[in-house]
């Protein structure tokens, strides 16, 4: 169980540019929840994920994972339990290392990176099997530098790396936004497959409302750093894009449908 209690985050505090990014977000996630998060630009979606991962500090509030308050843990420590996939395909993998070296690093997430051999022979077989399930032919390219891969391949690899050691929470920050539609679809089905197989608890930020409705068992809409809609189960199933738009208009009539808000 993951609990977010009254999370507040202000950027540029005390200056004229002060922005209240999160104004008291409270959220209880059950084990196995797959939550999609939507909201207009500046609603606080990415900030929420960054605060959870620890790359952005919080002003006040608590983040509790399995009864352990991790609010003050540094990012590298939190990554033992929280893994993430970024919007930028280049961020999740290391281009100058080979595929197997990247996987070896991910295979040690949360453990010490000591003086043992980086890529063990016994690991290579496991890596091959795991890469094969991506269906991208990467299993025969273990020694290739990741920098040679395409954005979609890198994103698929990042997903694999994020789930190799089972995380307590998987954070997906618009992880298909930078990909072409076909690749995005592939990466999305892989995401669904991995989450389903491992019964992962996941948070996925997206700008695509159709996607937000199709995927996951719960949907959250953020606006102005607050949760303005939280539906799950049958209620979510029954919703259509029009209902979401209506919700959007309800809180603020104008400028909701920005150019990044895709209807398809």
């Amino acid at each position: 169980m993951i609990e977010i209690k009254d999370l507040v985050k202000t950027f540029h505090r005390g200056s004229v540019n002060e922005v209240l990014a999160l104004s008291g977000i409270t959220l209880k996630m059950r084990k196995g929840d797959f939550i999609t998060i939507i909201g207009s630009n500046g609603a606080g979606k990415s900030t929420l994920l960054n605060c959870l991962a620890g790359s952005t500090g919080i002003d006040s509030g608590h983040i509790v994972i399995d009864e352990e308050d991790v609010s003050r843990w540094p990012e590298h420590r939190r990554s033992t339990w929280i893994s993430r996939v970024f919007q930028d395909p280049l961020l999740g993998t290391c281009g100058s290392l080979s595929i197997e070296q990247n996987l070896a690093l991910a295979n040690r997430r949360g453990r010490s990176h000591g003086l043992g051999r980086g890529v063990k022979r016994s690991d290579q077989e496991i890596f091959k099997k795991q890469l094969a399930q991506l269906g991208l032919g990467l299993e025969s390219r273990l020694k290739d530098k990741v920098g040679l891969l395409s954005g979609g391949q890198r994103q698929a690899l990042t997903l694999l790396m994020a789930t190799m050691i089972r995380p307590k929470v998987l954070l997906l920050d618009e992880h298909t936004a930078a990909l072409d539609p076909k690749t995005a679809h592939q990466v999305l089905s892989l995401t669904q497959k991995l989450i389903k197989e491992q019964h992962l608890t996941a948070l996925m930020v997206t700008h695509n409302m159709q996607q937000a409705l199709q995927l996951g068992n719960r949907l959250i809409m953020l606006h102005g750093g607050r949760v303005i809609l939280d539906v799950s189960g049958a209620e979510k199933q029954a919703m259509a894009v029009e209902d979401l738009l209506e919700q959007f208009y309800k809180v603020r009539g104008e400028e909701f449908v920005s150019d990044r808000m895709l209807l398809v």
């Binding site: 991962a53 990554s79 999740g92 290391c94 690093l105 043992g116 051999r117």
Partner: protein, 289 residues
């Protein structure tokens, strides 16, 4: 032979510069202070009757500490890497003077690491290049091993993509502190070897060390490539030798009345580094036309 001896002695430094500058992407000027630090520690230790080989280890440890200071200033206190290393370098000048108690110190008549080699019948002329060559190749092999351990992979990733490796649970602060420490430990060993082969340690012997180290790394990369870690390490070591050969060549050059003096070396090295850094870009521009 003199160039070989210097090339291998400076080889440790160049391997260290490769670690910080290329692997970690951390421009570290501390070596200008840690090289004479190694020389000072070694000279003082040998004068006090310590075994010359043990003095190398003491130099390594001293350099390691100096590098860690730079790493801590950068990661824990948030000082820009370049400035952090300059601060440590400046501080080391005073510390080196304190260690030796005077600006320079001779080792004439004192035992050195070369003694066991010369006593086996090899001439002094050949002993230093041979021994330093063996030492630096051992260091190269050790680094090759280190870079392929899990820690080494984390080190490479810290330089290439800090967000990624943090997300894999690695504390990059620690990686930076240890790597910069190791790099300066190697620089200090260079200093210790140089002072033993030249017979003196001097507080000013470190001036321009980083530029020379950088020049060696770049010369090596240009000539031998850096496609893999092993190749890049070898290129760095060979680059060190070739750089010293080039310097020796430049010094013996006579153009009528004009000849280079050792005091011109810094200018020559700086020009070499500028050329090596800008030429690849220029060539690409010309080829595109």
């Amino acid at each position: 032979m003199g160039a070989l001896e210097q090339g291998f002695a400076y080889g440790f430094l160049v391997l260290g510069v490769y670690l910080t500058f290329r692997v970690l992407d951390f421009p570290d000027l501390t070596v200008d202070g840690s090289l004479p630090l190694g020389a000072a520690v070694s000279a003082v230790a040998i004068s006090a009757g310590v075994d010359p080989f043990v003095s190398l280890l003491l130099a390594l440890a001293a350099g390691f500490c100096a590098g860690m200071v730079t790493g801590i200033l950068n990661t824990k206190f948030g000082i820009l890497h370049l400035l952090a290393s300059i601060l440590t370098m400046i501080a080391l000048y005073s510390i080196n003077l304190r260690i030796m108690g005077r600006p320079n110190m001779t080792l004439l008549g004192k035992p050195t690491v070369l003694d066991p080699v010369t006593s086996s019948g090899i001439s002094m002329f050949n002993a230093a290049p041979l021994l330093f060559g063996v030492f630096s190749i051992l260091a190269l092999l050790l680094l090759f091993w280190l870079l392929h351990t899990a820690f080494g992979l984390a080190m490479q990733a810290t330089g290439a993509n800090r967000q990624m490796i943090t997300s894999q649970g690695v504390n990059t602060d620690n990686v930076i502190i240890l790597t910069v420490g190791l790099s300066n430990g190697l620089a200090a060993v260079s200093g210790a070897l140089l002072c033993q082969s030249q017979g003196a340690a001097d507080v000013n012997m470190g001036v321009g060390t980083i530029v020379a180290g950088l020049a060696s790394v770049i010369v090596g990369e240009t000539l031998f490539g850096c496609q893999s870690v092993g190749r890049a390490l070898l290129a760095a070591l060979l680059g060190s030798v070739i750089y010293r050969l080039a310097i020796a060549l430049a010094l013996s050059l006579k153009l009528g009345q004009f000849s280079f003096t050792p005091s011109d070396l810094n200018l020559l090295t700086a020009l070499l580094v500028v050329a090596a850094l800008t030429l690849p870009g220029l060539r690409r521009k010309v080829l595109r036309r």
